[in-house]
């Protein structure tokens, strides 16, 4: 049967075009790939190549015709052994291809409503592990807690390894990987060249092959060189592969302001990464959470962004001495109970929030302090139940305010607890400037305990 050549769509948005020129005449032989016509759109002139072989039977749309709709038959091609007499047999213009609706949808056919998106799933986190009464508590620095978490997981699973700049022989730029090379050897504790984009990509590729890399960035500021691999390769591949190919990987390192290192070394990336579906984002404050959440992150089958804080590395805390202390991802912690106002923070912001709560208590205001610990998935439930109790909320973060994590928390409170609010949610954040170097300006650019106290009093109308 003769084959119809249809007016092709040459771009995703093309609806019609002009048939500028025929390059083959009726009766001419055509091979697959021959250019048979030129088509003009408002953007360009393009060539139409034949995809079938035979003889050009009849030109249906003469050259010079404007506004030919996509899918209009423009010519017929006769296959071997066919002649002009067969042209009558050419099929009528085929209906544009459209997926057949699934059977169940067909039954209730009339006026099709626009397809509504299904409800988004809600992440439910497991409760914190039971720490039996009488469990011995070990006082250690956050640096040690992180190291122990990695060492325990590397002992447990031979597929876990760590790579990054100065993680092996130097023992970690911030000494977080101290002793790992000695215990696990150079095969699993790997010094990389200074090449963030490259080694992040190699880590993701190794994870796609089934290994469980821990990729250390000397600071998250340098990870901007690697952000394409983190987002486009690590976060999106599971979805793009229809669930076939995932990526179990932890990207970790110090995030946010340290001290006097200025704008390029002092950015908080919590909001950036927390926007991306496919990533989990963790930013703990206490030593126990650093350990328990890093262990959870290494075991998690998804890409995890683990944001540490350089200033906190040397802080000490109590870590339960348990054989396997794992804190679930996605669960906030009530660091201090109170009834008057809810302070919501994470990572370094917690130090301002907790000190502010002490100050407020002196003035008779009982603040409830929530440590989010995980930024994505966010534990909305813990926030909302607290706000329903207090009616007032202040967020505290070192990052910038616009489109920040505090903005997200405020929006969720507005959506889920609007009727319970006695005052607008208020944000205390880093100032809207690149981080200055001068000591006094740097101090001004960061949040302060006084600002948190003032905000809490303002929402309490005191």
């Amino acid at each position: 049967m003769p084959i119809q050549v249809l007016m092709p769509a040459l771009s995703p948005t093309m609806e019609k075009g002009n048939l500028a020129k025929w390059l083959k005449k009726e009766g001419e032989t055509i091979k697959s790939g021959d250019v048979i016509a030129e088509i003009e759109t408002d953007k360009a002139t393009m060539e139409v190549e034949a995809t079938d072989e035979g003889t050009l039977g009849k030109i249906l749309i003469p050259e010079g015709t404007a506004d030919v709709a996509v899918n209009t038959p423009i010519a017929t091609i006769l296959a071997d052994g066919e002649s002009a007499a067969d042209l009558a047999k050419a099929p009528a213009a085929p209906a544009p291809t459209k997926a057949e609706a699934p059977a169940e949808a067909k039954a209730e056919a009339p006026a099709p409503k626009p397809e509504a998106a299904p409800a988004a799933p809600v992440a439910v986190a497991a409760p914190d592990p039971e720490v039996p009464a009488g469990t011995e508590m070990v006082t250690q620095t956050i640096r040690e807690a992180l190291r122990d978490a990695m060492a325990e997981e590397m002992r447990r699973d031979g597929d876990v390894f760590i790579m990054g700049e100065e993680v092996a022989e130097y023992q970690g730029a911030y000494k977080v990987t101290q002793g790992l090379l000695q215990e696990f050897g150079a095969r699993r504790v790997i010094d990389t060249p200074i090449t963030e984009h490259g080694f992040a990509g190699i880590g993701v590729g190794a994870a796609m092959a089934g290994l469980k890399p821990i990729v250390e960035f000397m600071t998250w500021n340098f990870a901007m060189q690697a952000i394409d691999q983190i987002i486009n390769s690590a976060a999106k591949t599971l979805y793009m592969s229809g669930g076939q190919m995932g990526c179990s990987i932890v990207f970790r390192g110090p995030n946010g302001a340290a001290a006097r290192v200025a704008a390029q070394h002092s950015q908080d990336y919590a909001a950036w990464y927390s926007q991306v579906p496919g990533l989990k984002v963790i930013a703990p404050y206490s030593a126990a959470d650093y350990k328990g959440l890093l262990k959870a992150a290494i075991r998690d089958p998804n890409p995890v962004i683990f944001l540490e804080n350089e200033v906190l590395y040397g802080h000490t805390g109590e870590v339960p001495k348990l054989a396997d202390f794992v804190v679930p991802i996605g669960k906030a912690r009530i660091a201090r109970a109170g009834k008057d106002v809810t302070l919501i923070s994470w990572s370094m912001g917690m130090s301002y929030a907790l000190k502010a709560a002490d100050e407020l208590a002196k003035e008779g205001i009982e603040a409830e302090v929530i440590d989010l610990r995980t930024i994505r998935p966010m534990d909305t439930e813990t926030i909302i139940s607290s706000v329903k109790k207090t009616g007032r909320a202040v967020t505290v973060e070192e990052g910038w305010q616009q489109s920040g994590v505090g903005a997200e928390v405020a929006a969720r409170i507005m959506e889920h607890a609007f009727d319970y609010l006695d005052a607008p949610v208020t944000r205390v954040s880093g100032k809207d400037v690149p981080m200055p170097y001068a000591h006094n300006l740097e101090k001004l650019a960061l949040p302060s305990v006084a600002e948190v106290v003032a905000a809490a009093k303002a929402v309490s109308y005191r």
């Binding site: 996509v70 590729g205 796609m208 092959a209 691999q229 979805y239 592969s241």
Partner: protein, 340 residues
């Protein structure tokens, strides 16, 4: 019928070509012909379906470059990994992925390799060791190096075959990966498919060093220039490179000198090269015609070749039919596969 090649892409670019590659057995010739034809017919059909509006978005066809993936694949063993960029349909078919599943992904249907969520540039098959299908130019080079890292970590003898184009060869992460691959002796073959144009930019307009086999020189990575239009030359180069990698010698670069007949994507105005240039390569060097002519010279009958044609057309037509009738993904799939 095209004549036997008179002038190779390699020679035209002013480079020396190795002497004639080893002959194929008749079975190898027939296999190569069939596998290249499948890719060509598949791509022609994809172009047609795109024109009909059944395939959306971007669609980058592999027509003209078939000998590269087919020749490489003939040298690989089970377990070797393959990863490439966005012009990936040919690689998937060469890896043995089913035409139906690939075509249904192009039309965004539930029977596609990614359940319709990935599209032309994002398909994967763990079963066939095909790791994508990546849409960010050059990103697959670091990822492919990571696959090789995993082979080394596990101590197996698999090789990662990492494909990218002459355009991607100018991305920075390519050289970061070269450095680490050689430093750590990772078993990775970097196959640079030099089809002479990065979208619309000719190699000479974008590349200070146009001999891509030398792009690893400052990392001590050996490289070869290969006539990528001759499937036998590709296979011979692949044999050398796989042996090099499996021998623990680290990476190797193969520059495949090839040519893309079609536009960069479907909406390519093709103003950066002449129709005559395209016609000349097609006429003189077509990878499929080369094999067909050799087979005819060896007294394989036209009829036998037509039977291969027919088999391939049946596969492609069945794939196109499936891809147009398979339902779209169920709405409930919107939120699946974000996390596992």
């Amino acid at each position: 019928m095209a004549a036997a090649p008179k002038k190779s892409v390699a020679k035209e670019a002013g480079q020396e070509k190795a002497s004639s590659p080893p002959e194929f057995t008749r079975d190898q010739e027939l296999q190569a012909l069939r596998d290249m034809l499948l890719i060509r017919r598949f791509e022609e059909k994809a172009g047609q379906l795109y024109g009909m509006g059944a395939i959306g978005g971007f669609c980058h066809l592999y027509i003209g470059q078939e000998a590269v993936v087919v020749g490489m694949q003939m040298a690989l063993k089970h377990g070797d990994e393959v990863i490439t960029g966005y012009r990936d349909h040919g690689h998937m078919l060469a890896c043995g992925m089913e035409a139906k599943g690939v075509m249904a992904e192009l039309t965004g249907r539930r029977g596609g390799y990614s359940k319709g969520k990935g599209g032309s540039m994002h398909m994967f098959s763990m079963e066939k060791h095909f790791y994508g299908g990546h849409g960010i130019v050059g990103a697959q080079v670091s990822l492919g190096t990571g696959l090789a890292f995993a082979n080394r970590y596990r101590g197996n003898d698999n090789v990662s075959v990492t494909y990218f184009g002459d355009g991607a060869a100018n991305q920075g992460q390519v050289y970061e990966s070269f450095n680490m691959a050689e430093l750590w002796k990772l078993p990775v073959i970097y196959v640079i498919e030099n089809n002479r144009y990065a979208m619309g930019t000719a190699v000479a307009r974008a590349s200070a060093q146009q001999d891509f086999s030398k792009r690893g020189a400052s990392f001590n990575i050996p490289g070869r220039q290969v006539d990528g239009m001759d499937v036998r030359a590709v296979k011979a180069a692949a044999d050398e490179a796989t042996a090099w990698c499996r021998g623990g010698n680290g990476p190797m670069i193969l520059e495949m000198q090839t040519y893309r007949y079609r536009g960069h994507s479907m909406s390519d105005p093709a103003k950066y090269r002449t129709r005559e240039e395209v016609e000349k390569v097609r006429h003189d060097q077509d990878p499929i015609e080369q094999v067909r002519n050799r087979l005819l010279a060896e007294k394989v009958s036209e009829q036998d070749l037509k039977a291969i044609d027919a088999e391939v057309r049946d596969i492609v037509n069945a794939a196109a039919d499936f891809a147009q009738h398979d339902p779209e993904p169920d709405p409930s799939e919107l939120y699946t596969d974000v996390y596992r």
